[in-house]
Amino acid sequence: MVAERAGYTVTMFLIDVSKSMGNFRTVTQEDSKGENVTIEMTNLEWSLQFVKLKIQEMIFNGRKTDQCGVIIFGSEETKNIVNTANGGYENVFEYISIGQPNAGTIAKLDKLEASSVCGDPIDALIVGIETQARYLANKKTWTRKVVIVTDGESPIEIEDWEATVKKMDDTNVSLTIVGVDFDDEELEYEEPDKSNVKRVNEKFFHELTSTMANGITGSCAYALRETAMPDIKQTRSALLGTVLRLGDVDTRGEEAIELTVKASKCTATARPKSWKKFGLRERTTDEMDQTQDDEDAANARAAYAMLKMRSEYYVDRTPGEEDEDGDVKMKREDDDENLLDAKNDDEDEDKEVNVESMEKVEKEDLIRGFKYGTTYAPCPDGQFPRLHTRKGIDICGFFPKKNFRRELSMGEIQYIWGDPSSPQQQVALSSIVQAMYEKGSMAIARWVSRDGMDPKMGVLYPVPFDNVDCLIWAQMPFADDVRKYTFPSLTNLINKKGETLTEHPYLPTDEQMEAMDKFVDTMDLMEAGDKDEKGNRLPWFSTLESFNPAIHRVKQAMFHSAITGDITTNPLPPPHPELLKFFEPPKRVVRRSKEALEECKQVFKVKEVPKKVVKAKKEGHVHAQDDDDSILLLDRKQPSDRSPGKSQSQIMRFTQVTPTKNKAVAKDADDSETEDEDDEEMLLDQKKPSTPAPEPRPGSSRNPGGGPLPTPARSMSPEVDPGRAPGRIVGNTYPLQDFQKNISQGDVVSKAVEDLGQVIIEVVLKPFAKRRHSEMLECMEIMRKTCLEEDEIDAWNIFIRELREKCLAKPGNKTFWQEICALGLGLGLISKHEAKKHLGESNVTQNEANEFIST
């Protein structure tokens, strides 16, 4: 398909605003969640959507040579050039004169309302052609398009229309008629109770457009559906001339090759169009008054202004001298006058607030240079003299194709063609391509796109197409571009004795390999696509069928917001299914692989590692991850100075928390257990397949009082003090978390139990302890469970006795103890009987236990 020449087009929209266009219709559409929303609108509003989408497309592409004009017919007023000159052509109104459209054009269309009269589309057509012709007087090469939007309910004076057709054909005008509720074979739609007038008109429209060289009549529903399809903007790649060289053409020309070739892009990255930023304009009181005079409050309008980016420069002068300061300030004021953007008035104050202690400097006073460490290397031009290079592609040598490393390919691919105007050059290139292809080799080459430009290294790959031979270029990395990170081997594990391991949790077993083998086989895509004409299944997924979902979704969203005044009442429909078709594996394949997948799940036993709570460390280093990382690992200490906007963009930021408070913590023997969690490195090597990661602790879900969860939400306030008393590893703030963390690490159980016990007692004896009762009960429940499992039964019994005693003493906390008793034996003393069940020992009799909680 040959791409149409973009731009250089004037489109005339002829819009029917006759009385019948004001009839209401109900439009059902899905919102982005797939729910149906019904909207009442007039036929005019409905069909205008099509016009607006077309105009928005022009705005989106932003070409100066893509212009349009709008003429309405069936209007009460008359204003058009034919009428002005010769009279007649009533009820045709030139609504928007031809020009490059903008948001104002769309806003103006929104004001259209159906009239109380009728208009003749043929009158409008003649006016439209005439207006267009006059505008394009001597621009013969421009494309001329006319679009009529009508419901076909108004009578048409069918007379002499052949002359109009001839005129349109002579000037190469194309005509599209978009009809509201016209019968449509493709959509299998036939309007019930169609009026006679409309039936005749529809027939006439079809006849009219089919007589024309370039005419089409279609239904509005179809037209709207087509605009929602993701379409690919065919970009014709420009052929850029360059030279392919081999050898030294300057001094050994007779032995060197120089071919004129053309390069054109084979792939080119495409990005979603960027969003423009807008701000709601706050009205000054003056303006308010005015509007109140003009309009009703209900009719009040809100203005959104497009924002412009502005850069300001600041310098920290604090260590500098004062005199210097004054000087520069003076200079700056001068500059302000010159610039006179009037932008500095309110700004200066602004600055002081945001960039404290920094001083604003004008760009003109700045000197360009580079940083060489702390050394300043001046460079007023912004770049040093460039390496002298000569335009062209130099071949450096050849190597076997099979040794090519695909992952080194750095970017966009280019075609290299023999000069289309010289058969000899084409043959020359073709001979090289064929010889390389035959030999199975590729060339290493150095490309300079223009004289003086930085060279790029790459490879040339021979491609014999059906009727032409060419090379394709892929850029390869320079030595500087390759990062040699080291990674531990996945296959060759060596232990400390220097022996190679054959069995290790990191190494898959034969059973696991077998399961994976089946899984890979069943997930094959080569015969998972649609069927071809012969009924053979084609491969599923191809680059040529995969639309960039972001580009098309963003475009759809932009168009939608541009043509709708309120996205709350008229929400954005869901993405076109075509965009999502490769988002999930094909159903056939999923079904086929089900069994193999189950087996994989069984044998590999992959477990998500529970999110770890980071504790303050001795040295106070805490990672503050960005969002990506936080999905996996949580940190609860977030530095207070972290600006919310910035953090997302960085992969990992290390932030430090001043160690003051936590430094004193845990200076005893268990140092190494409590202080650590570089959460990155922490759990490596500890997980064995046989010991899957611990399940989340039971009881953590039971959290009636809204007390802190073991893994706090990310939004946890930044400055939480874990509240650990000196020497304690369990703090008062998040006792349960601290406790569980210590338990999960193993051998500090006794200390953790003891500390938690003390914390609980402290908490419940404090004033206003009531709001933490449920949290403390949860703590106790888990603590008791741990004691049973970890053989700390005595510790529990000592604790619970102490708790009881303190609660019942004065001032105490009787309520809390009553709550414990209400729970029955569950939180009481651990009896002989119960201890035995857990292979533990206790000297408490069952009776004693019963009595303990009953008093």
């Binding site: 705005i59 004169s97 103006k108 090469t141 014709r236 790649s237 052929l239 032995e255 090759i257 004129t260 084979c266 979603p272 969003w275 807008f278 701000g279 304009r281 706050e282 203005a303 412009k308 008035d345 700045l366 360009r368 940083k371 060489y372 460490g373 001046p378 460039r386 050849f398 190597f399 695909r406 390919s409 970017g411 691919i413 289309p420 001979s431 090289i432 064929q434 010889a435 060279p455 790959y461 030595a479 500087d480 390759v482 990062r483 990191y506 895509l525 040529l544 069928e545 960039n548 580009i551 932009m558 309120d566 490769f582 999930e584 992969i651 990992m652 930021r653 290390f654 202080e675 090597d685």
Partner: protein, 655 residues
């Protein structure tokens, strides 16, 4: 037109996508070179590269440190470096500052400080002095006479130096260089091992990584097991218990090399390894493993210039602050209050007289009914880009390796490695998948959203086997994540038909291609340092060192080896050229393309132009003729007629 700088500013959303590089710049890196200064390190021997020159391990180590510093200063001008020497009896001169109170027999030669030209020059000077008088090191850093300093003390010193000198948020590393595998040969050995280990754990807990570089020579080979394997920690952090388990594996980053390879070994670790993303990899519903992504191939660009303010006594970098303003009202708008929408389009001259209301508004203003919402929030705008996906990689299925076409490329690849920390069992599952895919010669097609702000892309996962090349570098095992182009990004071939070579011509070409082929070669990235970047950096360095730069001394290693080409294939190329001039195609003319625009016939015979050139009457040709000729030679057609004439004669001069 906005000034040049503004063109280069990218909207934040896009920035996220392009940002690959910047994460390396945004984080500061600190390296403390910790170099053994014992008698064996100072022992002189003949320099293998220069005749009659003596060198020693310490010299090589310091020189490597200079090279690393020189490179780091270009890549990360905000990074800091320091040098600590141990096993020397030299003591700190001052009693204040970093390094004043470190353990005995360790000496802080250069405190940790941001990189600067003067620091590098200081070492270079020292090295130059040594070249002249090899006794210099012995005088300046006399080795300890009695035994060696316990490694525990060395680590403690490092810890203190780091604590005092390194910025808190930086990644911190110690490059430990020693040739001694048994630092504590005699009494109290066991205790010293324990103390070394404890201090090392302290160090790691302070967020410092130790990267050892062990020097091994023929006379004195280095045995890691004699001391270091029981001290060094596999990866960064591990608890005591794990250390005692003998099944635990060796740290990934031990390097034992000959002294000559020290620099290249260090360069492998020059940049701290940082993951670009860490996401779940979903093999199928209910089977997820953890992976991290690294950029192994990323274009290294010239640093961008900064704006400086002359403060009289010094130059200070100006901080840039970007704001968004409503220009008509001169009001700055907070980020939280911004809304997002489509371009409003060009300014159209206001309609004559009628309806001068705000609807059409001023340029760049959109007016709607109060209370309605015509724009999206930042959150909504982002969800349109991500299509509401969570970051992650989703496996879609497998295809044969050949399905990954050469031309299906738009962007550099990323390297994916399993992350056991987020999902236990990731490594074995990953390994099994990798091995199976290598055996079956297949690639995987995946859908990837690597970061929260990115856009979803389809990628090929290409399995990488472990290869060890001659330089000792190991290609790590893992997957290459290669983004595939979308339909929107593929351009159709603009030329479908052309003249093709005869078999004779092909054979003539084959003859010289054979001669110019490297048998088992491949594209060697290491052989091609970026000349433009190097040229820039040399000038930058010269400017910082206040030295003169001599452009002639610069060697561009990417230029073809002309001599070799002509020697091997010159004659064959000549034969091919003869064949070409005798080929039928020489007499063919391409019929003028039926273009839409009719043009005067401007084609002029090359011979005719040549004769005009010879007679010095090129000026008689018309501009369009000159242009046509230049265009056919791939030359620029810009400029006035005189320029064109000049250019044409230049071309004939050259040919």
């Amino acid at each position: 037109m906005p000034p040049y700088d503004d063109w280069n500013k990218i909207d934040e959303e896009e920035e996220e996508e392009i940002q690959d590089n910047s994460i390396f710049e945004s984080k500061r890196d600190v390296i403390l070179f910790c170099i053994d200064c014992s008698a064996s390190m100072l022992k002189l021997y003949d320099d293998p590269n220069y005749e009659d020159v003596q060198t020693c391990h310490l010299y090589t180590a310091l020189e490597a440190a200079v090279q690393i510093q020189k490179r780091k200063i270009l890549v990360g001008p905000n990074d800091s470096v320091g040098i600590l020497l141990f096993n020397t009896s030299r003591k700190a001169e001052s009693t204040r500052g970093q390094g004043a109170e470190i353990k005995r027999n360790t000496y802080l030669f250069q405190p940790i400080a941001p990189l600067s030209a003067s620091k590098i020059q200081e070492i270079i000077q020292l090295l130059d002095t040594f070249r002249e008088d090899t006794g210099e090191f012995l005088r300046r850093f006399p080795p300890v006479s009695d035994g060696r300093v316990p490694m525990g003390d060395v680590f403690t010193s490092c810890n203190w130096v780091m604590r005092d000198g390194a910025p808190k948020t930086a990644s911190k590393r110690i490059f430990l260089i020693t040739d001694e595998d048994t630092p504590h040969p005699s009494t109290g050995r066991k205790q010293l091992v324990t103390s070394a280990r404890t201090t090392l754990i302290d160090l790691t807990q302070a967020g410092v990584t130790v990267e050892p570089f062990f020097i091994s020579t023929e006379e004195k080979s280095f045995d890691v097991t004699s001391f270091y394997s029981s001290v060094l920690l596999p990866t960064n952090l591990i608890d005591e218990e794990e250390l005692q388990e003998d099944s635990s594996i060796l740290p990934e980053s031990i390097s034992i090399s000959r002294i000559e390879d020290l620099l290249s070994q260090m360069r492998f670790r020059e940049v701290p390894k940082r993951a670009i993303f860490s996401v779940p990899f979903e093999l199928a519903n209910g089977l997820k493993i953890g992976v991290k992504g690294y950029g192994l191939v990323t274009e290294q660009k010239k640093g961008s210039y900064k704006y400086f303010v002359d403060l009289g006594d010094r130059m200070e970098v100006a901080t840039v602050r970007t704001t968004y303003v409503d220009e008509d009202h001169q009001a700055e708008v907070e980020k939280a209050k911004m809304v997002y929408g489509a371009e409003l389009g060009a300014n159209v001259a206001p309609e004559d007289g009628e309806e001068e209301d705000e609807t059409i508004g001023g340029a760049g203003v959109r007016t709607v009914k109060s209370g309605s919402r015509p724009f999206y929030t930042a959150e909504e705008a982002r969800s349109f880009r991500t299509l509401d996906l969570e970051p992650g990689i989703k496996l879609l299925g497998f295809k044969p390796r050949e399905e990954l076409a050469f031309e299906d490329n738009v962007k550099h690849s990323l390297f994916v490695f399993p992350d056991e920390m987020t999902y236990s069992g990731s490594k074995r599952t990953f390994s099994a998948l990798l091995r199976t895919m290598i055996r079956k010669k297949v690639i995987a097609i995946v859908r990837a959203l690597t970061r929260r702000n990115a856009t979803p892309v389809f990628c090929a996962l290409l399995p990488q086997e472990e290869n060890i090349d001659e330089s000792g570098w190991t290609d790590p095992t893992g997957f290459h994540l290669i983004p595939l182009p979308f339909a929107d990004e593929v351009r159709t071939a603009p030329i479908e038909e052309g003249f093709r070579a005869s078999d004779e011509m092909k054979d003539l070409a084959r003859a010289w291609i054979d001669k110019l082929s490297v048998k088992n070669g491949a594209y060697p990235p290491d052989s091609y340092p970026n000349p433009a970047l190097a040229y820039h950096n040399i000038q930058l360095q010269a400017s910082a060192f206040r030295e003169e730069f001599d452009p002639d001394s610069f060697e561009d290693l990417t230029l073809p080896k002309y001599d070799m080409i002509h020697k091997r294939a010159g004659k064959l190329i000549q034969q091919w050229k003869e064949g070409l001039s005798n080929d039928n195609s020489a007499n063919l003319v391409v019929p003028a393309a039926a273009g839409s625009k009719r043009k005067a016939d401007v084609s002029v015979d090359e011979a005719e132009i040549k004769s005009k050139y010879d007679s010095g009457t090129l000026g008689k040709l018309r501009v369009d003729q000159l242009k046509e000729f230049l265009k056919s030679k791939g030359q620029s057609v810009a400029g006035k007629k005189a320029d064109l004439v000049d250019r044409v004669s230049e071309w004939f001069d050259a040919h």
